[in-house]
């Protein structure tokens, strides 16, 4: 018995210790002094801290509908054209015409010059090769009616939404906003974009930029030029100053093997992006003719090479004029290497693009070529030899596991096709919250919380006396646990979320009330306080469980169907139910046991 007692106290003290530690990152928003800053930053890796929702910190939230119909139509026209091309090349049937249906976007007709050529084995052979993508529905005279397979339509639809997400994310990042979120909802064919902290003046600008079409550029990297660029003029001074400044977010690196220079910087938490930091650093540097800095976003890695949560940006010293742009891309796709089975990205330029690309690669063998989408470097492979014929392969050397490679290849295809095939997007919902309103809401939430909890604490103390104190202790711990779990999970707190916490405070004592009323009944029935406490807890448990689970079910449904703010309410409600059950049963039991342990003849309840 004594041992068990000790364990319970140890568990409780540990839990409270962990919870208080986890809450620090939320409570201390602006750490003072370097020492405190470092400590809080170290804690953030474990406990990210509560994020404030848009309604609490102000910002822009938009929902964009993706014009998937246009993307499907594009896909259909593209496939129809490639069948016509194939018929000409392989089956030697010239002058076939492809006509897209007018009343829908997935059917098309192939008009052959005559019935004989249509019925030829060679033509059938070509169409058979395409059955995975498009099937013949019927024939009439010299026309074959075709339609895209439903799974291709669906795939195109999803692809166009993902492309749009990728494009929008890059655009927002490029504008230097941190902590933004771009979430696709495939079922609704739309995308939710949230940008915290944006002000009224910037909104129309960002709206226009988001709705633009993607842009791909391939630029030659001037690695050999870095030595001179980093060692002359204003740049030389800045680099020299960097060596002395230990606290600068910018660091200078040399490429392994070749020794070419580049800069990198980590994204600041709730602050500037690494790219912005480097741009600020380069303020006043003059570039030689036709040279500029391009930026690549990278996931941070620890010493062992495992990915971390940080995001860093690095520089490439590139030519300013693009060697070739996305306008010349015909199509990008994921393909697999014949011998190793490794995925790579195959890119096909149109005829004009093929010529430009051949010349570009021929002149820059052994140089690197930066693949840049909307001003952000995606990868920078080395050109191995002159590439003619308009086909180019982008092999991905960085990731080693096959799955990672495949993901990376898929991402790159999304990005490349985003440049080549824009899916139009249009806003269908928009909401903005000014920063002042958010602050008012936080102040209100804290005040309402304080008033509610003081009223409940007093009420419980007056009504249940000593046992009320136990319940109150459980309630306060419950509050700490809720904040700790939200903080540890990096949850987003909204105004309804605050309401959820306050409501949970009111409902949390319910478990205690059920137990206490039971204990009173048992006492009235003539049991000793100690036996009454035992019986009360034992018999009340399932009642509490059954009663709480219904609110829990409602919370889960709310979470499933709700939008941002309502989700915030559901999360705090769900967390609150779990923690309040634990607090009521474990903590108040501990205190009541302690009370009846020494004075087993009486209980203040």
């Amino acid at each position: 018995m004594e041992r068990k007692w000790l364990w319970r106290v140890i568990v409780l003290v540990l839990l409270i210790g962990i919870s208080v530690t986890a809450s620090i990152t939320t409570v201390i928003r602006a750490p003072k002094g370097e020492d405190e800053q470092d400590k809080v930053a170290a804690l953030r890796d474990l406990f990210p801290g509560i994020n404030l929702g848009l309604d609490l910190q102000g910002g822009l939230r938009m929902i964009y509908e993706v014009g998937v119909e246009a993307a499907i139509e594009d896909k259909r026209d593209h496939i129809a054209e490639s069948i016509v091309h194939e018929l000409g090349e392989t089956a030697k049937i010239k002058n076939v015409k492809a006509i897209g249906a007018r009343d829908n976007n997935y059917q098309f007709d192939l008009v052959f010059p005559d019935a004989k050529s249509m019925k030829s084995d060679k033509a059938k052979e070509v169409l058979k090769d395409y059955r995975r993508i498009a099937v013949e529905t019927s024939e009439s005279a010299s026309t074959v009616h075709m339609e895209l397979k439903p799974e291709i339509v669906k795939e195109t639809e999803e692809m166009s939404i993902k492309q749009a997400v990728e494009t929008i994310s890059i655009r927002i990042d490029n504008m230097g906003w941190a902590n933004t979120s771009v979430i696709p909802r495939l079922a609704n064919r739309d995308i939710i974009v949230q940008i915290p902290g944006i002000n009224e003046a910037e909104i129309s600008r960002i709206k226009r930029i988001i709705a633009q079409t993607a842009r791909l550029e391939l630029k030659i990297v001037d690695d050999k030029g870095t030595a001179e660029f980093f060692k002359t003029g204003a740049m030389k001074e800045k680099i020299a100053a960097l060596a002395d400044d230990k606290d600068s977010p910018i660091s200078l690196h040399q490429e392994p093997g070749t020794g070419h220079y580049y800069l990198s910087a980590k994204n600041q938490l709730r602050g500037k992006s690494g790219r912005q930091l480097i741009q600020d650093f380069l303020e006043g540097v003059e570039f030689p003719e036709n040279r500029e800095i391009s930026y690549q976003e990278q996931q941070g890695k620890d010493a062992a090479g495992n990915p971390t949560a940080d995001v860093t940006w690095r520089t490439y010293y590139t030519l300013k004029v693009a060697g070739i742009t996305g306008e010349y891309i015909d199509q990008a796709a994921v393909a697999f290497s014949q011998d190793s089975g490794k995925p790579y990205v195959s890119l096909r330029f149109n005829q004009e693009g093929a010529g430009i690309f051949a010349q570009l690669t021929g002149e820059n063998v052994k140089e690197r070529m930066a693949i840049i989408l909307d001003g952000k470097v995606q990868s920078a492979p080395v050109i191995q030899e002159k590439i003619s014929g308009g086909n180019c392969q982008i092999t991905l050397g960085r990731a080693d596991a096959r799955d990672n490679l495949l993901n990376e290849a898929n991402d790159l295809v999304i990005v490349l096709n985003a440049g080549a095939l824009p899916a139009p997007i249009k806003p269908v919902t928009e909401s903005t919250v000014g920063p002042q309103l958010g602050q008012d809401a936080i102040d209100m939430g804290i005040l309402a919380f304080e008033i509610a909890i003081i009223a409940i604490l007093l009420f419980m103390l007056v009504y249940y006396k000593g046992a009320g104190f136990a319940a109150n202790l459980a309630l306060v711990c419950n509050g700490v646990f809720i904040v700790a779990i939200l903080s540890g999970g990096g949850a987003t707190l909204t105004l309804p979320g605050i309401a959820g916490i306050i409501l949970t405070m009111g409902m949390a004592v319910d478990a205690n009330v059920i137990i206490y009323e039971r204990i009173r009944e048992e006492l009235r029935g003539g049991k000793s306080p100690r036996a009454a406490v035992d019986a009360g807890f034992k018999r009340a448990f399932w009642t509490i469980f059954d009663a709480q689970i219904t609110t829990f079910i409602a919370g889960v449904v709310m979470f499933q169907y709700g939008t941002g703010e309502i989700k915030g309410f559901a999360v705090t409600l769900l967390v609150g139910i779990v923690t309040s059950m634990f607090s009521a049963i474990f903590i108040s039991r501990l205190v009541l046991d302690f009370m009846t342990r020494h004075r087993s003849d009486q209980l203040s309840i």
């Binding site: 509908e65 709705a211 309402a448 009223a455 009504y463 105004l495 009330v513 609110t551 709310m558």
Partner: protein, 400 residues
């Protein structure tokens, strides 16, 4: 301290007939009111625009604001004092765009005339009315397109920031952005995307044109397109239905099938009465209201289940045959708990309502206040009597 010093022995079930009439009247009344008057749905369910504005001038009265909105052509604009300062208002408009279909076709034909009848092959407004996309077969300068758009009566957004695309534009002719228009070339078509001032920008500009409104600050704005509103409406209704189904399954599984109808009828009772009160008081029904209704469902059931749990326990413990008296005893035994929990929850919800009534939480916390009261009532006077009636009904059937 104890509310009831001794064991209580109220005859709840004896009065159940009276309360059944009260409950039925309340539910029927609520349904009628909801059907006839229709609840006032918020913009997230029917689409529309909401703007919260703080004015720095006491002359910014509801009447002045209304007259500005009326001049702009907004029918049925709604202006209410809201927020922490005396001159802060919440404005609700049914429109998300000031351009109606008739105007759209007028603008279209005016633009067609200006840009060349055969050249224009595409014309589309975004749902928010803040972007116009025009496709042309032959090229034109951005300035010419913008002039034509202005002449057609469009309110172009004044974006002076041309982003960092100016140097690109010289080398590359495929996309170009000037002032409020971007021109791109897609498959030999010339696409002009013209940014227009949305409703919010236009309303704010109109306010700022008046001396009392020149320092107006937009605190918050939101617009929801009709299609999204429809999606949210469906999601809201299905979420309540799903919650009810899951809960019914749980009760049938954990308790007894004959308890489930009582619990669910009590829940429907709570939801309908809350909705009825909202309709009578003309309070907006929004997504937050749905969340509040779901919370009420959870809370009301919490109460009901504690009672059911005791009924189950008492039925197992005593060999008493009469369900009625078991229920009566159970209700009495759990009475102080029911009242205690309602009081603490009400304390929390009332704190939220009194402090938060100036924020968007006002209607949400009001729904919770009603829900806690109605939910407590229903777990005593609706859920348990229904269990008895169902029991009697089945008993009669068996006999027959």
């Amino acid at each position: 301290m104890q509310i009831f010093k001794n064991k209580t022995n109220y005859d709840f079930m004896g009065k159940s007939r009276t309360f059944a009439i009260v409950s039925t009247l309340a539910v029927v009344g609520s349904v009628l009111v909801t059907l006839i008057w229709q609840p006032r749905f918020g913009i997230d369910f029917i689409g529309g625009t909401e703007i919260q504005v703080e004015f720095k001038d006491s002359k910014a009265t509801v009447a002045n604001i209304r007259s500005v909105l009326k001049k702009m052509g907004f029918a049925g604009a709604d202006v209410v004092a809201f927020g922490s300062s005396d001159t802060e208002y919440l404005i609700r408009l049914r429109e998300v765009s000031r351009i109606n279909d008739e105007q759209k076709s007028k603008i279209k034909s005016a633009l067609k005339n200006a840009l060349g009848d055969t050249s224009m092959i595409g014309f589309e407004f975004s749902p928010g009315g803040d972007k116009l996309t025009v496709k042309l077969k032959s090229d034109m300068s951005i300035a010419d397109v913008e002039t034509a758009a202005r002449n057609a009566g469009l309110d172009l957004a004044g974006i002076t920031d041309t982003v960092d695309e100016t140097d690109q534009a010289e080398e590359d002719n495929s996309r170009k952005c000037e002032s409020s228009t971007c021109r791109l070339v897609v498959k030999e078509q010339y696409v002009f995307e013209i940014s227009l001032n949305g409703v919010t920008e236009q309303v704010m500009a109109s306010f700022r044109a008046h001396p009392w409104g020149k320092d107006a600050v937009k605190m918050r704005s939101e617009w929801v397109g009709a299609k999204v509103g429809e999606q949210l409406r469906t999601a809201g209704i299905s979420s309540i239905l799903y919650a009810l189904i899951f809960i019914m399954v749980y009760i049938a599984f954990r308790f007894d099938l004959r308890f489930a109808p009582g619990a669910v009828i009590a829940l429907i009772h709570d939801i309908l009465i809350t909705l009825g009160i909202f309709t009578v008081l003309r309070i907006e029904v929004t997504l937050a209201t749905v969340a509040a209704l779901l919370t009420i469902v959870g809370y009301s059931l919490n109460d009901t289940i504690v009672v059911f749990d005791r009924i189950r326990e008492n039925m197992a413990a005593s060999k008493e045959v009469k369900l009625l008296s078991v229920i009566n005893r159970s209700l009495n035994e759990t009475l102080s708990r029911t009242i205690m929990t309602s009081v603490t929850t009400l304390l929390a919800v009332l704190a939220l309502y009194t402090i938060g009534w100036k924020t968007s939480l006002r209607d949400f916390s009001f729904a919770l206040v009603i829900g806690v009261i109605v939910g407590t009532y229903s777990s005593i006077y609706v859920a348990s009597p229904v269990v008895v009636w169902f029991d009697r009904f089945f008993a009669k059937k068996e006999k027959a």
